[in-house]
């Protein structure tokens, strides 16, 4: 067996073996490996299939930019996770990982047939091909695409782990623990600033940590050694918090940032113990220093996607950090000096390497170093083809023409088992742009670099376009000093030695002897889009980068185009003949790397998902078998089934009892607003449609509240408790909004009014007792009180006492029955309720829920705002003209009631509906038509409330119908799936039109 682990490093402990499974096969790696480095140490490059053509793909990088090595981990457990990058996951004992996007196996892949039909899968394929015929979509295309594409599987069981949120404030936040982040952290924390440093890897040091080259020295030490010492010192600093395994997800305005800390993802499953898995940090930083580094660019040439084709710096990292050689017969393909460091490192370990450089020459120190070691360099050359199915085995190269636009001379074949490519570097400007920062284009190395935007945020190091060691150290030091207003630092006189890159040449799409249409030059490896696709999109008329991106899907995979965006832009610029800097870039949106749902949701799961509001009587309802209904955040009793009653039977029984004897409802959830102040009456005049000045003290009145557009907003009964004191009730769902609206008007439009509003919804519990026997029950509860109609008429209120406890009794009715509402401080709510039940026993008092309440009020034609109205109904539409004052000069919404649109006669208006068959109950929401034969059928309205009334022994409904006011007695049709229901328009009041029961 070939031994790929060729080098001992301090980052991987080769005495600690870790076993793991990949695609069902067992392997060994070591403590300190990533899944990717462990696979490579076993010679495994082929790890997946591409999305569209199912081409074999291998590990390409060593970080978050990885497009190919995307795995499903721990499949068939409740901790399974899709789309995990093998380059980021730390190896642990028992890890089970498998390739995604390939069936039945990575080596034999049926979807690979797409590769052979690929001439028929051009850009926009999904948009073009699957459009027709229409009925093919659901049964054929969609299942086909889903089956063949599949990006991993979601877990099917609840997530057993905990996720946490943490809010922190700091003076300085530094993103990225590479060399520039370390310098910045040291300066910040040594100057008494509370500093946080976050780093997504498990150790600090970035790519400097594995540098050991004569040409890169700091203060006469290898840069890797120098940084080791810096890190050791850093860890001793008091006011610095270092968070490793923590990746920045989002950089919002005003320096508000989200970072995800992985706490237990690197532990074996049996060591996780149900503790916190991930923590989302919500950081508000006074100042932010971004030091996120740069990503190496690939090169775009024919068949540039075979397993074994990797980024040059990653090849070096696998060798020098993990001790793994990705090949023994390496070729490096580059347009810049940085790849020579990889060559030198390989050669120094005695591993074969050759270099193909598209430049004509380079005389830098590192190039000379490679030449001295005997590395063969092919100048002015390009790779034109690659070979090898499951792994690369050879390449073809040719010379470039003088201007680089074409190839010249003969093909030359070179054998290799690893092709390390480098197309230069792209600063990671994602964080900068997410925060609102803009970019400048730098011609000389074709990079977008940040333009500084504000005094509280800077970029340092290679994410700022400083690629050479000397620049990085000196510029970082200088910028951080300015930023933090520090006059001197320990880095002021650092001596830096580095090789300087002098010769640059960039070709976004390398030329070939094969015609463009036949080249597979991949730009986006995960989404399988090629240079040809980009050019096709341009030919088809797409110009904006945002459109080309969506049409070709370039940059839209889980890696969000980290490797592909620059090449796409470059090829568009070249093809369209415009300057790249003028194209702009696509928008970088959070999250930078995918977040788990768990980390977003944190602890707000299960019963903590939303607030649950319960009345003080809730416990009694539960004990008495109530079924509950959610009304906003409230739990309200819906109905109280006896024995095995269903909803219908329970509601029929409750409704009958309420009209025949007595019913009791928990009305505590209605919104209650206490209104005080000398202008309270005037205020009510302005917010309700009817008049309030003449309401006597101790009297109650129903009010309708509109929006300024004239549409009904809320309703409820308001009681005058004193000269300057009212108690307003609102609908349960509308309480908070009504209070906000009233406060808004008071503070902004009418600040001159002397009015004070207090929400007292939670302060009082309300028991509403109705029915012909309600007066007798009240008399038993309050024996000293005179409940005669003369002493206590309908729509009035009185204070009363139960023992020593104060109550308010309102004689108001939402059912049409004789009815009283008793308000008491919430802490006594349950005792009051129990007393009512106890006293009411002899009258068979029946608790009823919201469903019965709805039925009873519908029998009387009372509306429910939000059920019979939907924000498009005026009081006139509701046939409630009587409540709109003609005399008042103004109230909210008055002017809108006679706009040209609101006075239209053919608006939808509230009517009653009776079915021809009294047993047929209409469906709420059902459409209503008048002429079923006229095509297209015009829908003239819909059913808003519908019930079977036990008191009338027939079906009743409320509906809104165009010009409904004029239709009384007219026949209409409610067409359903299998039948047509004949209905007759009626009055909205079905029961007791004379209002006799209210004083029964």
């Amino acid at each position: 067996m070939i031994k790929y682990r060729v080098n001992k490093t301090k980052h991987v402990d080769q005495t600690k073996t870790v076993s793991f499974d990949f695609d069902g096969k067992s392997y060994h790696g070591f403590d300190g490996d990533t899944l990717a480095s462990a696979l490579l140490s076993n010679g495994v490059h082929l790890v997946g299939r591409s999305f569209k053509y199912h081409r074999p793909r291998g590990i390409m990088s060593s970080g978050s930019e990885e497009p190919n090595a995307i795995c499903q981990i721990n499949e068939n457990t409740d901790l399974t996770e899709p789309n995990v990058r093998a380059t980021e996951i730390e190896l642990y004992e028992g890890l089970k990982a498998s390739s995604q996007n390939c069936w039945p196996s990575v080596n034999f892949d049926i979807g690979g047939i797409n590769n052979f039909i690929s001439p028929f899968i051009p850009a926009g394929f999904y948009y073009k091909t699957f459009m027709w015929p229409k009925n093919f979509w659901k049964k054929i295309y969609e299942p086909l695409i889903r089956w063949s594409a599949g990006l991993g599987k979601s877990p099917t069981k609840p997530d057993p782990e905990l996720y946490d949120h943490k809010h922190v404030h700091c003076d300085v936040l530094i993103i990225g623990g590479g060399i520039s982040g370390i310098i910045a952290s040291k300066i910040a924390s040594k100057n008494n600033l509370k500093t946080i440093l976050i780093e997504d890897k498990n150790i600090l040091g970035g790519s400097t940590i594995f540098q050991k080259n004569e040409n890169y020295k700091i203060n006469n030490k290898y840069s890797g050694e120098w940084i080791d010492e810096e890190i050791a010192e850093l860890k001793k600093l008091d006011n610095l918090t270092i968070k490793t395994r923590t990746s920045l997800a989002a950089y919002h305005s005003y320096n508000y940032l989200l970072a995800k800390e992985n706490i237990s993802d690197h532990l074996p499953l049996d060591k996780r113990n149900g503790d916190i898995r991930q923590r989302l940090w919500k950081i508000r930083a006074d100042k932010v220093i971004v030091a996120t580094g740069a990503i190496e660019r690939p090169l775009v040439f024919n068949n540039n996607d075979r397993p074994g084709i990797m980024l040059a710096n990653s090849v070096k990292k696998y060798l020098d950090f993990y001790g793994v050689s990705c090949g023994f017969n390496n070729v490096i393909f580059t347009n810049n000096d940085s790849a020579y460091e990889t060559a030198v490192s390989l050669k120094e370990k005695g591993i074969s390497v050759e270099i193909i450089d598209i430049r004509k020459k380079s005389n830098s120190k590192i190039v000379k170093n490679a030449e001295k070691l005997g590395v063969k360099i092919y100048w002015n050359s390009t790779v034109v083809n690659t070979f090898g199915h499951r792994k690369i085995n050879s390449i073809e190269i040719m010379n470039l023409s003088e201007d680089g636009s074409n190839i010249v001379g003969d093909k030359n074949k070179i054998n290799c088992d690893c092709l390390a490519v480098s197309g230069g570097w792209t600063p990671m400007v994602h964080m900068h742009t997410q925060s609102g920062g803009k970019l400048d284009f730098r011609e000389n190395d074709q990079t977008f670099i940040p333009t500084e935007i504000d005094e509280n945020h800077i970029n340092v190091g290679s994410c700022n376009g400083d690629f050479e060691l000397e620049e990085i150290i000196n510029n970082t030091n200088k910028k951080v000093k300015n930023f933090l207003k520090v006059s001197e630092t320990e880095f002021d006189n650092t001596s830096v030695l580095n090789s300087k890159e002098l010769d640059k040449r960039n070709i976004w799409l390398l030329p070939n002897y094969i015609s463009e249409g036949k080249c597979k030059s991949f730009i986006d490896f995960q989404n399988d889009s090629t240079a040809k696709d980009i050019k096709l999109a341009l030919r088809e008329g797409f110009k904006s980068i945002e459109h080309v991106k969506r049409y070709t899907t370039t940059g839209m995979a889980t890696d969000q185009g980290k490797l592909s965006n620059m090449h796409a832009l470059g090829i568009i610029a070249d093809t369209a003949g415009v300057k790249m800097g003028t194209l702009g870039t696509t928008t970088f949106r959070p999250p930078f790397t995918p977040l788990t749902f768990g980390s977003i949701v944190g602890r707000s799961v299960g019963k903590f998902f939303d607030i649950i509001r319960k009345t003080s009587i809730h416990e009694w309802h539960s004990q008495n078998n109530a079924k509950f209904e959610n009304v906003g955040q409230w739990k309200r009793p819906w109905y109280y089934p006896v024995n095995d009653e269903g909803l219908h039977d329970a509601v029929q029984r409750e409704s009958k009892a309420a009209r025949d004897s007595a019913g009791i409802l928990d009305a505590s959830t209605l919104g209650k607003i206490d209104i005080q102040g000398t202008d309270s009456s005037e205020f009510l005049n302005r917010v309700y449609t009817n008049a309030w000045s003449k309401l006597g003290i101790g009297k109650c009145r129903y009010g309708l509240m509109l929006n300024e557009d004239g549409m009904v907003y809320d309703d409820g009964v308001t009681t005058r408790l004193g000269e300057n004191h009212y108690l307003m009730t609102t609908t349960t769902g509308g309480a908070a909004n009504v209070l906000s609206k009233l406060e808004d008007y008071l503070q902004t439009e009418w600040p001159e009014l002397d009015v004070y509003l207090t929400s007292v919804t939670d302060h009082y519990s309300t028991a509403s007792i109705c029915g012909p026997n309600s007066k007798k029950i009240l008399t038993k509860i309050f024996p000293d009180k005179d409940f005669s109609d003369e002493a206590f008429p309908h729509m009035s209120y009185q204070n009363a006492k139960i023992d020593e406890i104060n109550c308010r009794i309102m004689r108001i009715s939402f059912t049409g029955e004789l009815s009283y509402e008793i308000n008491i401080e919430s802490k006594y709510g349950k005792s009051l309720w129990e007393k009512c039940i106890e006293v009411g026993k002899e009258f068979k008092i029946t608790p009823y829920g919201t469903e019965t309440m709805h039925l009873l009020r519908a029998e009387k034609g009372f509306i429910i705002v939000g059920q019979d109205t939907d924000g498009t109904m005026t009081p006139i539409d509701l046939q409630m003209d009587w409540i709109v004052s003609k005399k008042k000069y103004d109230f909210i919404g008055k002017r809108s009631l006679y706009r040209s649109d609101t006075i239209r006669e053919d608006r939808k208006q509230l009517v009653g509906l009776l079915t021809d068959d009294p047993n047929e109950v209409l469906e709420e929401g059902a459409q209503i038509v008048s002429d079923i034969n006229k095509k297209p059928i015009e829908m003239i309205g819909h059913v808003t409330s519908s019930y079977f009334s036990p008191n009338l022994n027939k079906s009743i409904a409320l509906a809104v119908v165009k010009s409904g006011k004029k239709m009384n007695g007219q026949k209409l049709i409610v067409p359903m799936e299998n039948k047509k229901i004949n209905v007759i328009v009626s009055d909205t009041v079905f029961l007791d039109k004379e209002n006799k029961r209210i004083n029964a």
């Binding site: 508000y256 406060e743 503070q747 706009r899």
Partner: protein, 91 residues
Amino acid sequence: MFLINCPYCGERDQSEFSCGGEAHIVRPKQPTELSDDQWAEYLFMRKNIKGIQFERWNHAHGCRKWFNMVRDTSNDKIYAVYKMGEKSPIE
């Protein structure tokens, strides 16, 4: 997420506030005198500016006071906050 300086409470997270749209739209004192068009102008027409915009904000999960804000909608820079009834410090 903005950091908003409530004129009554000081700096708080945006999550404590709600935005009430364009500021300085005064409810007409005599709505009945207005034509449909004039009333519609008050009721529906909003500028929705890209750039410097005057907005109403409410410290809903705090002091519940309404106040005004001058904000550049293109970069979310807040230039000023001031109490209801006060003149904007920025024209």
